[in-house]
């Protein structure tokens, strides 16, 4: 048993290192070839070793296997079938699903009977909020990059409304900490508001700006993963999630610069700020 825990911890550490090496190599054209294999091995080893986690009942292990088979097969099919032009949208989809996974972990943490410290509850709720926002926002981004909802949706006082939805969701999250173990209805309202907020951020964007937000939501998923990592005491999730969040922050700047758009105005357009007309036309044709 002792050795098993050591092996799991060691493999998680190795996975974190492999992720770092993989991303580093991917970032340069000279080394990009084959870089994905490094990260891929890290993922494979981390997942395989988790099956040997001590004390898991067999029924749950079967469920884990089924769920991986189901999600993995569908995603493999979608990823393979996507047309080359649709790949950016597919990134948004996959990344949104990761955010959804973090949110589902948060929901399980928040509704389970055991006693957690205030910090753990706070981080679980924060990760749930970020994950749910990334989930719905990325799904809208996916739909828009796939040619649905072509036109940005705008209405009066959009900024205030969007901010209010996210703020109320955050308040509900804090209230969940207050009366723990959480009330199921409140947990449901919390997640619904977070999902609504994420979608509302993604609808006012002009289409050319959407890739910037794909990267931004990627960072939110990373933060959500890191938060749930803290809540679960899983160092591999903390390190990988944080690295992705910080990398995504940098990439968001770079992608915005790549399409000649100041990051500030892209971000403010998510809250209904005016997107300049040149970006409106120039972005849409890209």
């Amino acid at each position: 048993m002792e050795f098993r825990s050591f092996l799991i911890d060691f493999t998680y550490f190795a996975a974190a290192v492999l992720f770092l090496v993989g991303l580093k190599r991917m970032s340069s054209p000279r080394t990009a070839r084959g870089s994905l294999l490094w990260a891929g091995w890290g993922m494979l080893l981390a997942v395989l070793v988790t099956f040997f986690w001590p004390g898991l009942p067999r029924a749950n292990l079967v469920l884990i296997g089924l769920a991986i088979l189901l999600g993995g097969t569908l995603a493999w099919y979608i990823g393979r079938k996507a047309l080359p032009a649709d790949l950016p949208g597919t990134i948004a989809l996959c990344n949104g699903l990761g955010g959804g996974a973090a949110a589902a972990i948060a929901a399980a943490q928040l509704t389970e009977g055991g006693v957690h410290s205030l910090t753990v509850t706070f981080l679980a709720a924060l990760g749930g909020l970020l994950g749910a926002v990334s989930f719905s926002g990325s799904l809208v981004a996916f739909a828009r990059l796939r040619g649905r909802l072509e036109k940005p949706v705008r209405f009066r006082s959009q900024g205030q409304v969007n901010a209010a939805v996210l703020l109320i969701a955050a308040v509900f999250g804090l209230m969940l900490m207050g009366n723990y173990p959480s009330h199921t209805t409140m947990t449901v309202i919390f997640f619904l508001l977070a999902l609504l907020g994420g979608a509302m951020i993604a609808v006012p964007l002009v289409r050319g700006d959407v890739p910037v937000f794909v990267s931004l939501f990627n960072g939110l998923t990373g933060l959500a993963v890191a938060c749930e990592g803290f809540a679960l005491g899983n160092e591999a999730m903390i390190i990988a999630g944080t690295v992705v969040a910080a990398a995504a922050a940098r990439l968001t700047q770079l992608v915005a610069r790549g399409i000649d758009r100041p990051l500030g105005s892209v971000l403010s357009s998510a809250f209904g700020g005016s997107a300049s007309t040149s970006a409106e036309t120039g972005g849409a044709t890209r």
């Binding site: 996975a15 993989g22 991303l23 991917m26 970032s27 054209p29 990009a32 870089s35 994905l36 990260a39 891929g40 993922m43 981390a46 997942v47 986690w53 009942p57 749950n60 769920a67 991986i68 999600g71 993995g72 569908l74 493999w76 990823g79 996507a82 080359p84 790949l87 950016p88 597919t90 990134i91 996959c94 990344n95 699903l97 990761g98 996974a101 973090a102 589902a104 972990i105 399980a108 943490q109 890739p211 998923t221 990373g222 679960l232 899983n234 160092e235 999730m237 903390i238 990988a240 999630g241 944080t242 690295v243 992705v244 910080a246 990398a247 940098r250 990439l251 770079l254 992608v255 790549g258």
Partner: protein, 95 residues
């Protein structure tokens, strides 16, 4: 894990992540976004632990959803990143 150790890990990982992708050329922007998204697939490990320890049907349902979504993130992220890297290579050869 004490709060401060967690804070150290968080800070060092954040600085590392930021610098690792600092010099990415424009042709690799979206492939690296995709690669980072694939790394988020590590959430699968946490989802497996949650489903593994699930005791009530509600926990099992949430855990099942978490594992399925996380697996889709990991597998889809890998496939898409692989294709995007190949695409950026072939584009690089043409120019």
């Amino acid at each position: 894990m004490t709060g401060f150790v967690a804070l150290y890990i968080f800070t060092l990982a954040a600085v590392t992540g930021y610098h690792i992708v600092s010099g990415v050329p424009a042709s690799l922007h979206m492939p690296v976004v995709s690669g980072a998204s694939f790394v988020n697939g590590i959430v699968l490990v946490g989802a497996m632990v949650v489903l593994g320890h699930a005791e009530t049907p509600l926990e099992q349902a949430l855990g099942f959803v978490a594992v399925a979504l996380a697996a889709a993130n990991a597998v889809g992220g890998y496939v898409v990143t692989d294709r995007m890297l190949a695409e950026s290579r072939s584009r690089g050869r043409k120019t």
